[in-house]
């Protein structure tokens, strides 16, 4: 792809409002927007949810991508929804935009049909909220990119210091 994807505060706030609304209806253990690359845009988790959201996003995007490819092998090019049913928790994944997925983890008390219906209705509004930001808005916020890059470079040097590495007698 080669291009950066930028998410503005206004976009995220709009998306979070929609997720909260959906969360009130479904009482999920976890609900989140993730990218198809496995990054989390935002997520809400119920009290007591012990899952690791980074791992969940990575695995959910991988699982969705793998299942979509299986569908394509069978000539289905319009695969947008996936459901995993477990003993105690179900995972529902629906595609929101080309790059964004909605992931909902919910218990047995929530009916799958309700999740499917409400999540399906919500995807259009979420897609609208996440529509690409105008370039003039993103460029304003990236004007200090050089300062950021220099600062991160220093952090990386400290963090990835080779001092801790062992050197073998080759």
């Amino acid at each position: 792809m080669g291009k950066n994807q930028t998410l503005l505060k206004s976009q995220l706030e709009a998306a979070v409002l929609l997720l909260k609304k959906l969360s009130e209806e479904l009482s999920p253990q976890y609900i989140g927007l993730i990218t198809t690359s496995g990054h989390t845009l935002t997520s809400l988790a119920a009290t007591g949810f012990n899952g690791d959201s980074d791992s969940l996003a990575s695995l959910a995007s991988g699982s969705f991508a793998a299942t979509r490819e299986m569908a394509r092998l069978m000539d289905d090019f319009d695969f947008t929804v996936m459901l995993h049913e477990g003993n105690n928790v179900n995972i529902y994944i629906v595609q929101v935009t080309d790059d964004v997925l909605l992931v909902i983890c919910f218990g047995k008390k929530t009916h799958i049909g309700k999740v499917r219906l409400l999540a399906g209705r919500m995807t259009g509004a979420l897609a609208e909220a996440l529509r690409n930001a105008p370039p003039e808005l993103t460029r304003q916020r990236l004007t200090q990119a050089d300062v950021y890059a220099e600062g991160v470079g220093r952090v990386i040097d400290e963090l990835f210091d080779v001092e801790g590495e062992q050197h073998g007698p080759y």
């Binding site: 792809m1 080669g2 291009k3 950066n4 994807q5 930028t6 998410l7 503005l8 505060k9 206004s10 976009q11 995220l12 706030e13 990218t35 198809t36 690359s37 496995g38 990054h39 845009l41 935002t42 690791d52 980074d54 791992s55 990575s58 695995l59 991988g62 991508a65 793998a66 490819e69 790059d99 370039p135 993103t138 460029r139 916020r141 990236l142 004007t143 200090q144 990119a145 050089d146 300062v147 950021y148 890059a149 600062g151 991160v152 470079g153 952090v155 990386i156 040097d157 963090l159 990835f160 210091d161 080779v162 801790g164 590495e165 062992q166 050197h167 073998g168 080759y170």
Partner: protein, 205 residues
């Protein structure tokens, strides 16, 4: 592509360890997990076969301190090295920002290295990417063994993009962080360049 989440104050990058089977990709990421400051690392997730060969990917998230109000996050992945899992490799490299190509320095693994390197180009091309547009570092691994190519020769044979290269022994960790440092700086520099490219044209002011 980097995900710049201005609302959350985060920039997310995806770095993938690519290379032939049993070359040292998983060992490298495991070494990073073992040695890096605990506050920085998340859980190491591996989807592996019963023989501990990578089936789909390994995944390790790293979160750096804030700079200019932005938190930097690197998601490290490996691809499965075995050729029969090429479909999985294609999925793992979606949205990629940088690559650490881990080559096995042993002379008898040259064909496998070349095949993996060409496969990397093919798979990136399939999704409209090119190694020329990404951060890329060559990590010449297993330098502790006998029967290996001199690194300069291996570099002549493999490194078609004239990318930076690092000698390593993933088992002991030598070179692993150097390669990671190199590729992370490359991807950040590329984001920086992209941001500068977005700056308003002064001639239009």
């Amino acid at each position: 592509m980097a995900l710049i989440n201005l609302a959350a104050g985060e920039i997310n990058y995806k770095i993938v360890y690519y290379g032939c089977a049993l070359g040292g990709k998983t060992t490298s990421i495991q070494y990073v997990y073992k040695k890096i400051t605990p506050q920085v690392k998340g859980k190491l997730v591996s989807i592996a076969t019963e023989e501990e060969r990578t089936l789909y990917f390994d995944f390790l998230p790293l979160t750096l301190d804030k700079v200019r109000g932005l938190k930097t996050r690197f998601h490290l992945y490996t691809v499965p090295g075995q050729p029969q899992y090429n479909a999985s490799r294609k999925l793992v490299i979606q949205g990629i920002d940088g690559i650490v190509f881990v080559a096995d320095s042993q002379i008898d693994r040259l064909d496998d290295n070349v095949e993996a390197y060409l496969n990397m180009w093919d798979n990136l091309a399939d999704q409209g990417d090119s190694p020329l547009d990404l951060g890329l570092v060559m990590q010449y691994n297993k330098r502790d063994l006998t029967g290996i190519f001199p690194s300069a020769d291996l570099n002549d044979l493999l490194n078609q993009t004239d990318s930076d290269w690092v000698e390593s022994c993933a088992l002991t960790g030598e070179g692993v962080f150097e390669a990671l440092r190199n590729v992370t700086k490359q991807v950040i520099a590329r984001t920086n360049a992209a941001a500068e490219g977005m700056a308003p044209d002064p001639s239009r002011a």
